[in-house]
Structures are given as C-alpha cells and as structure tokens.
C-alpha cells in the first residue's frame, strides 16, 4: 500500500553565487575571520517550512500557490530527490514523476535507445524494460523515426516519445506538475485517455497547478502553499 508521511519538513535551499562556491573565498574568509566570513556565508532560501502531511491510497492531492510558493520543491521531496533539511519523510510505494517528461533523454541517442535508457532510469530492469519498450514504441506512433537520433525530432515528436515513456509504468504514487497536453489533435485524445487510465490506477496522485478549477475537478484535497508553508487544506468534493 502506498503511503506518504511528512513530519515537520523544512527545506532550505542554499543559493550559491560563484562567490561562495570557490575555495579561494573560503580560505580568505577563514584567514580574515569574523566579518568577511559572514558575508561569504551561503544564503539560504526556505523553500518549505514545517510541512506536515499524510497521504493515503485514494488521495488525490492538489498543490496550489503562486510561483515560488514551494510546489515544485514539495514535489521533489515527494519524488525522493530532496532530503529535508529538518523533519522526516517516509515514502512507501513506487513513485512516477511526470514533473519533467524529457528528463534524462539523450539527444544523440536514437528513439529506441532513449526508451531503453529512460525505462532503466525509472527503475526497470533491462528485462522488464524490454517488455515495456514495445508498447511504448507502438503508443508513440513514431514508427521508423525511432531509428533516428532524437535531436532530429520536432519538439512535438519529442514530447510524444517522452510522454509515451513516462506513462509506460503503472505507478503507485504519481507526481505531476501541471496538467499534461502533448502532441497534435489526434495524439492529444490518445494521451488524455492514457493519462486518465494512469490517474485512475494510481493509489496516490499529487498534482501542482496554478489552476484552482483544474484542482477542484481532479482532487479531493487541495493544499494551498504560501512561502513554503501549507496554509490551508481545502477538502473538495470527490471527483466524479
């Protein structure tokens, strides 16, 4: 059973200029002591502040807030990429992240190679990946183009491939940043249907969006983020 629990989670993102990251400045500041050391100190941005959260199967959670409110950071914590600076995170279940579809795609590699590489990065063994690859190839509808390096693809074709790969695995926990809409008219309909199926089957869905309307339609819980804090939880009606 998928389960997510965040306890008093804070994330402070250090902001490095070229300044603080060089060893020279570190040495100079050590030699001059006090004042300079303070100036050379790393500035931190509190991206998430004391977030406590428990998600259970059946939860359809919307994250809502302005730019920089912490939506993406929270998604990255849920993806297991960011460890919190303080607090604890427990994630049980297989996470699929649709935050960046083109993640880890290699422009020089062919469509076929990218399918295999990406599926492995998503944690599928080569044997499992091989089984899934056929379905991805068919769904992408790219046919012979899969033999070409993907740098030759149009951006539409690239998104089709990325979408087909990213949605090939049925997740237990699905993370999304905004609603996805890819490809031309014909593909959009196909993609929507596939996405709906994915949304249906996943145990937990977390989707970040600016659109209140979308979240209210899709989610049964909406969290409003402001300056990294979860301000209010709106319990929307169960999606029809």
């Amino acid at each position: 059973m998928a389960h997510i629990r965040l306890d008093d989670v804070c994330v402070d993102l250090p902001v490095f200029g070229a300044h603080s990251r060089s060893l020279k400045n570190r040495i100079i500041s050590a030699a001059t002591g006090g004042r300079l050391a303070k100036e050379a100190g790393v500035t931190c941005v509190r991206a998430l502040s004391h977030v406590t959260l428990e998600l259970n199967p059946g939860d359809r959670v919307g994250l809502w807030g302005h730019n920089g409110a912490g939506k993406t950071t929270l998604l990255r914590v849920l993806a297991g990429a960011y460890a919190p600076t303080s607090g604890t995170v427990r994630i049980e279940g297989d996470v699929t992240s649709l935050i960046d579809l083109a993640l880890g795609m290699e422009p020089e590699a062919t469509g076929f190679e990218n399918i295999a590489l990406r599926l492995m990065m998503m944690g599928r063994s080569p044997r499992l990946a091989e089984g899934l690859a056929e379905e991805v190839q068919a769904f992408s509808g790219l046919g012979e183009f899969l033999d070409l390096p993907i740098r030759t693809y149009s951006s539409g074709m690239l998104m089709r491939l990325a979408f087909a790969i990213s949605t090939a695995v049925e997740p237990e926990i699905l993370l999304m940043d905004e609603w996805l809409s890819v490809g031309d008219e014909e593909f959009v309909a196909k993609a929507e249907a596939r996405l709906e199926r994915l949304l249906e089957s996943t145990q937990i869905l977390v989707i970040a969006s600016h659109s209140r309307e979308l979240l209210e339609r899709r989610c049964n819980r909406v969290l409003r983020l402001e300056h990294g804090e979860v301000k209010e939880t709106v319990l929307a009606e169960q999606p029809a």
């Binding site: 402070d12 993102l13 250090p14 490095f16 070229a18 990251r21 060089s22 060893l23 020279k24 570190r26 990255r76 993806a79 297991g80 990429a81 960011y82 460890a83 919190p84 600076t85 303080s86 607090g87 996470v95 992240s97 935050i99 960046d100 993640l103 880890g104 290699e106 020089e108 590699a109 190679e113 295999a116 590489l117 492995m120 990065m121 998503m122 944690g123 063994s125 080569p126 390096p149």
Partner: protein
C-alpha cells in the same frame, strides 16, 4: 543542525548496495557514453585505440633515442605508462563532474548517487580495454610475460580500479561543492604526469628520489606495469598500493556518508 549533514555510514553503504543491485544502469550508461563520443564517426570507439597507437608509435622511437634505450625494452614501457596514466588521469578529471553531469536526473528522481561515480570509472575501464589491444601488440613484439606475472598484473588492475572508485567518490563530492577544484585538479595532474615515471624510467634518476617514494600515482602505475614487463616487483609495492586504495575508499566513504543527502543541494 542540518538533517542532511549527519554522518550516516549504513545509508552510504546501502547506496552502494543499491548501485550494485542496479548495476545494469551504470554499465549500460558507461558504454553509452563511449558510443556517444564517437557517434557519426565511421570507426567509432576504435578511434580510442588508433589515437593511442599514433601517440606511442610517434613517441616511442624518439624517446628511445633521447634516453639511449633499446626500443624493444622501451616501447612496452612507454605504451603501458601512457595507457595506464591515461586511465588514472582521465578517471580523476572526469570524476569531478560525475554528479554535475547528472544534475538533471539527481534533482528529480531518487537514484543511488554512487552509481554516477561507478559509471565514470566503468567508462574509463572500457577505454582501457580498447587500449589493451595495443598493449597486447607491443608485448607480442617485445615478449609476453609469464602467466604468473599476468595474474599479478590482474591483481594490480583490481587495486587500481578500487582506488579509482574511492578517489572518484572523494573528488566528485568535493568538486560538486567547490567548482574551482576541477581546474586545480586538472592542472595538478598535468604536472604530476611529468613528475611520475611515465615516459622516463625510475632507474634513470641518479639516486632514489622523493618523487618516486612519495608519489602515490607511481605505486598504482607500477603494480600493473611492472608484472606485464616481466619485472619482479617487491611485495611492498602491492601492499602500499592496496593501502592507498583502501585509504581512498575509506576517505571517500566517510565524506559520502556525511554529505550524501547534501549533494543534490550543491548541484
């Protein structure tokens, strides 16, 4: 103060265990890196071998003349020296960007971080394999070592590879935090190449030098090179090289245990 910076050795070891479990990932990606480099070239990765062959064929006769050494003994020495040094230097420099190159993936998904270091070392072992053809050719010309010596060299290679993983981890973490370090390391390695008996022989020095006794690169080089040349290397060399490799692994692992969760924030 910061939960991402507490020393957690079991978690660091677990990261390696996961990399081992998912070895297909870095094995495949390392090979992919090599293919990538030579994509669209007709000969592909064979260029690795050819470039090295040209270098050795060009330098060998000239330096044999300068040093007044017989070509038959100098050529294999030089070939092994350049090829092995190439492995040490390139692995070290590329380790600097092991995490930085994978920034996009590391920031968004949960993959064992050690796999990025293993990918770098594996990639360079593959380059070494392409160059091994040349070693074979040169040794066929100069005389093959006995099987026992071959086994010694294999042991030496293992020590070298383990050392490369340790130093790779150490350097990758350090260079991700301090971006100047990559330049520093690249220039230091260049100097070190000339200070290490790669082109010249240790016995050409009028007396035993600190450059040799205190040069860690020399021990890593010798444990593979000497047996392949049929030289009887004192056991002390293997002990020192093993100790160095173990030391690098321990240092790397400790740094990794402390900063593993922090690395993503430095990218």
């Amino acid at each position: 103060m910061d939960a991402t910076m507490k020393l957690d050795l079991p978690a660091a070891l677990l990261d390696f265990a996961e990399s081992w479990q998912k070895s297909y990932l870095w094995l495949r990606l390392g090979w992919f890196d090599i293919q990538q480099r030579f994509r669209r070239s007709v000969l592909g990765p064979l260029w690795i071998t050819l470039t090295m062959a040209a270098l050795i064929a060009g330098m060998g006769p000239l330096y044999a003349l300068i040093f007044d050494l017989e070509l038959k003994t100098y050529l294999p020495y030089l070939a092994l020296g350049i090829i092995l040094w190439g492995f040490i230097a390139t692995t070290t420099v590329e380790s600097c960007s092991a995490f930085i190159a994978g920034a996009g993936v590391i920031r968004q998904t949960r993959l064992p971080l050690s796999s990025f270091v293993l990918r770098t070392v594996w990639r360079n072992l593959l380059v070494l394999a392409f160059n091994a053809v040349l070693i074979l050719v040169v040794l066929l010309y100069a005389g093959l070592p006995s099987l026992a010596r071959l086994a010694e060299a294999a042991g030496g290679l293992l020590i070298l590879a383990v050392g490369a993983i340790g130093s790779g981890l150490l350097i990758a973490i350090f260079c991700t935090r301090y971006r100047d370090m990559q330049q520093v390391i690249a220039s230091l390695l260049q100097v070190l190449m000339f200070l290490t008996p790669v082109f010249w022989r240790a016995d050409q020095l009028p007396q035993r030098s600190l450059l040799i006794d205190w040069n860690p690169a020399y021990y890593f080089l010798e444990v593979v090179r000497a047996p392949l040349l049929g030289v009887d290397l004192p056991g002390r060399y293997y002990e020192i090289a093993s100790a160095l490799a173990a030391g690098l692994c321990l240092a790397g692992l400790l740094l990794f245990a402390r900063y593993r969760l922090r690395i993503v924030y430095w990218l």
